[in-house]
């Protein structure tokens, strides 16, 4: 379990990274926290000719707030997000691996790696986050979370592009959030998880809901049917129905070790739990 030999770059600025990607993007991998890339290198599942280390690019790290929007630098450690800022993010990231992993792992790395079982992409999807992406040739573009995740371990990012920032808009007034996950053990990969937000009208009915599922599906997905089923109803009357809709609408990622019917049942229960927490 030793990686194939590769060239190593240690840039200091985003501009340098973009130049390296413009030249070598097709054959390079970006190293952030390394919590996913390094095992993949060691298993020789990925065999990049170059590894571009982002850890020296100070401008990529850190969280700031701008008009209520949380702007998270791609190199911000997961542990830092867990410790403060957005409550749903913090709640979900407690489930992301072990503390040692979260101390190294980064927000941008979790998004760009797009492991279906990863907590952060699903939470960002539920929060209608967006991603700032830069490249030497194309300048900067913004991709909504809804459009970002196209398949297992696959995003909209092109080989010459760099994810630089994650923007999390503020939650509307009278909005609660909840997160529920099932995993074989603390720190293990999730079997399924659901992130939820629930916005109430002044009369206590649901004005809007967001629901995103992780691990049970090939990519993090929004549960549009379940979200719609909640609108205009009181949460305590609508949550069980929403859970049932969620179970029906997902395409479960079953395999030889886990059944699709179980994943549906699990998503129903986790939807129920996440919504109850959001409504509380």
């Amino acid at each position: 379990m030793k990686p194939v030999a590769f060239e190593y770059d240690d840039p200091r600025t985003v501009e340098e990274v973009l130049d390296l990607l413009a030249e070598h993007g097709d054959e390079a991998k970006l190293l952030a926290g390394g919590q996913s890339l390094v095992p993949l290198l060691n298993f020789r599942i990925v065999r990049p000719a170059r590894v571009i280390d982002l850890n020296g690019v100070a401008e990529l790290a850190g969280v700031r707030e701008e008009d209520g929007t949380l702007r998270i630098g791609a190199l911000t450690r997961v542990r830092e997000l867990e410790a403060g800022g957005q409550p749903l993010v913090a709640d979900a990231l407690r489930h992301a691996g072990h503390p040692q992993i979260r101390s190294r792992g980064t927000a941008g790395g979790a998004v760009a790696h797009a492991d279906p079982a990863s907590e952060l992409p699903a939470v960002l999807l539920a929060l209608d986050a967006s991603f700032s992406i830069r490249s030497a040739r194309g300048g900067e573009r913004t991709v909504a979370a809804r459009d970002m995740f196209v398949g297992p371990f696959t995003t909209q990012l092109a080989p010459h592009e760099l994810l630089v920032e994650i923007a999390v808009p503020p939650l509307p007034p009278r909005t609660g959030a909840g997160f529920a996950e099932a995993a074989p053990a603390h720190g293990a990969f999730a079997t399924a998880g659901v992130a939820a937000t629930l916005t109430l009208d002044e009369d206590g009915t649901c004005a809007q809901a967001t629901l995103a599922v992780l691990a049970a599906t090939a990519t993090p997905v929004r549960l549009g049917g379940a979200e719609a089923s909640l609108v205009g109803r009181r949460p305590d009357e609508a949550i069980d129905d929403a859970a049932a809709v969620a179970a029906r609408e997902i395409e479960p990622m079953a395999n030889e070790r886990i059944g699709g019917d179980y994943l549906r049942a699990l998503v129903a229960e986790l939807t129920r739990r996440a919504l109850r927490e959001a409504a509380a």
Binding site: K2, A5, F43, R44, A182, H186, F189, Y262, A265
Partner: protein, 691 residues
Amino acid sequence: MTRREDVAFLQGTARYVDDVAVPGTLHLAFVRSPWAHAEVRSVDADAARRAPGVVAVVTAADLEGLQPLRGQPHIPDLETEFVDTPHPLLAVDRVRYAGQSVVAVVAESRELAEDATELVAVDYEPLDAVVDARTTPPANVVFRSAESAGDVEGAFAAADATVSASLHIPRLVAAPIEPRGLLAQYDADDDLLTITFSTQGPHGPRRVLSQSLGRDPALIRVVVPAVGGAFGSKSAIPPEGVVCAWLAIELGRPVKWIEDRLENFLAAYQGRGMDVDAELALRADGRILALRARVVGDAGGYLYPQGAMLFQRSARMFTGAYDVAAAAVEVVGTATNKPPNGPYRGAGRPEAALVAERMIDHAARELGLDPIEIRRRNLVRRDAFPYRNALGMTYDSGDYERCLDDAIALLPLDDWEARRDASPDERPIGIGVATIIELTGGASEAAAVDVDEGGRVVVRTSATAHGQGHDTTFAQIAAEELGVPLEQIEVVYGDSSLVPAGIGTFGSRSVSQAGSALVEALRKLPRDTRPARSEATWESPPLFSSGAWLAVVEIERATGRLNVLRVVAVDDAGRIVNPLLAEGQVVGGALQGLGQCLTEEVVYTEDGQPLTITFGDYTLLTAAELPDLETGFVETPSPWNPLGSKGLGESGAIGLPPAVAGAVADALSRFGVRHVDFPFTPEKLWRLMNP
């Protein structure tokens, strides 16, 4: 008293085998079979030999004259039909499990060696694989034995009731945090081969190396550095280790093989792996009249390091802590296309405890008796020791009912029974009990003691610490016996050139056997302050510790998640030298036992492809999963050694699983479930509760 050896471990200064850096060391990597079963038609290693940094590429043809590895085939006094199936050092013309080593590549770095393994072309002709030990063809039977005592047929004919059950106990990996590894160095001037090896005792590996290499054991030195856990999985030298040693001699340079996690999952021997059909003959009052059982052991591709031994010994303990007059067991081992079977924490004892405890639970349900009451009616009584069980194992000492009483007092049982009875179908609660025996001790260990003019005492023991805390425990034994401060005692272990020969540290034997040898050596010293030296060995039959475990679980019907709400354990390991370390053994074993309950299972496809090859596929529990666990101790001294000690190292792995299994069956009884095999994964439990 806290462990005095921990500073180096906590500060990261302890030296493990991979930390031992010798200039000029070469590194070893293996080409491993991608097939579970295949003929090896040819090997083309020319490109690998020309690759950068490569020093040698070796196949089985280069190892002619070396002996393949044979384990202890079967219990010596038990007549056994046996097919000699040694493990080749490298595959000769056939591979029998995916991951078996076929070609060895030696290079200037591990990276270069791995690069070169990709250039080796092996022509395989795949063959059908045999994976499920229960359905193997008759030709795959590699050992068979049967023994019985008492009138088993008569007991079944006269029984008021009988119960029967089939249990499947999956294979597990030991998964020590440090995988296996060794550094081999050869000194041509002295013709001395020195092996720095992450193992559980220096003398056993030296003997196997001597046999395989055809080398005088006096010309082999085995040094054990700091060891990052073993749990039985480092008791034997692996084939790769022998190849590494041979290469160091052939090449005249140090050669290192540090197993990585993938290799450990693919090729390290695996524990458990046993199917049991068992029956009990019962009297209406719950007394067990006879046990009958058939064992199918999943032997894997080769009978090394153990063969039939663990399965046969396990079967002799199927009557557990209960007084059963008649028993008959048949043990069959079947070859499968998987790595060999070998010892893992408990090594046959957890399997036996599961059989005994599940069967008596079935008996309780069949007869409408309380699970605790039926145990009381069958436990070996405190005045019956030494007690010889039906299949010839002699239990030296114990007070099984007292352990049970103490455990019930810790729970407390009445409150939990009320909570269980009131628990809703959406969250049923179950209570399980296990009254277990633990085969410990046995065979010989040795000690040597030197006292210098200053009164400093050097203790050399054949036991070899790899996490147990021998440095503290053996110093305590010596300090107490001599009446000198602990700081005056130095403890030396893990070097065949320094310590007297013994078996090593496994099977919960170190305090009772090596500790007793130490006491004997200390008692030979003159009772004054003169410099002196003494040596002693200690040998005894096995000693039987015991314990009572109670577990309370709750299962979420919506998700199938199992929550362990409370566990209490009262163990009797005779005299306890260090209570903190004793509790640590129980707690650590319990967490490993809980892993067997909840998540752990080695999984292969029908073609013999392993699906559990990373910690992402094979979930180990961490301290975060430790349930509310309370321990207690009863000290019934063993009459068979000067310390009065019995062993404790496997108690948790033996006692917790059947207690939790009983609790799960209890919780699911309202769903018509009688038995569930390990592991209790959420999906499995969900299906049982939501049919």
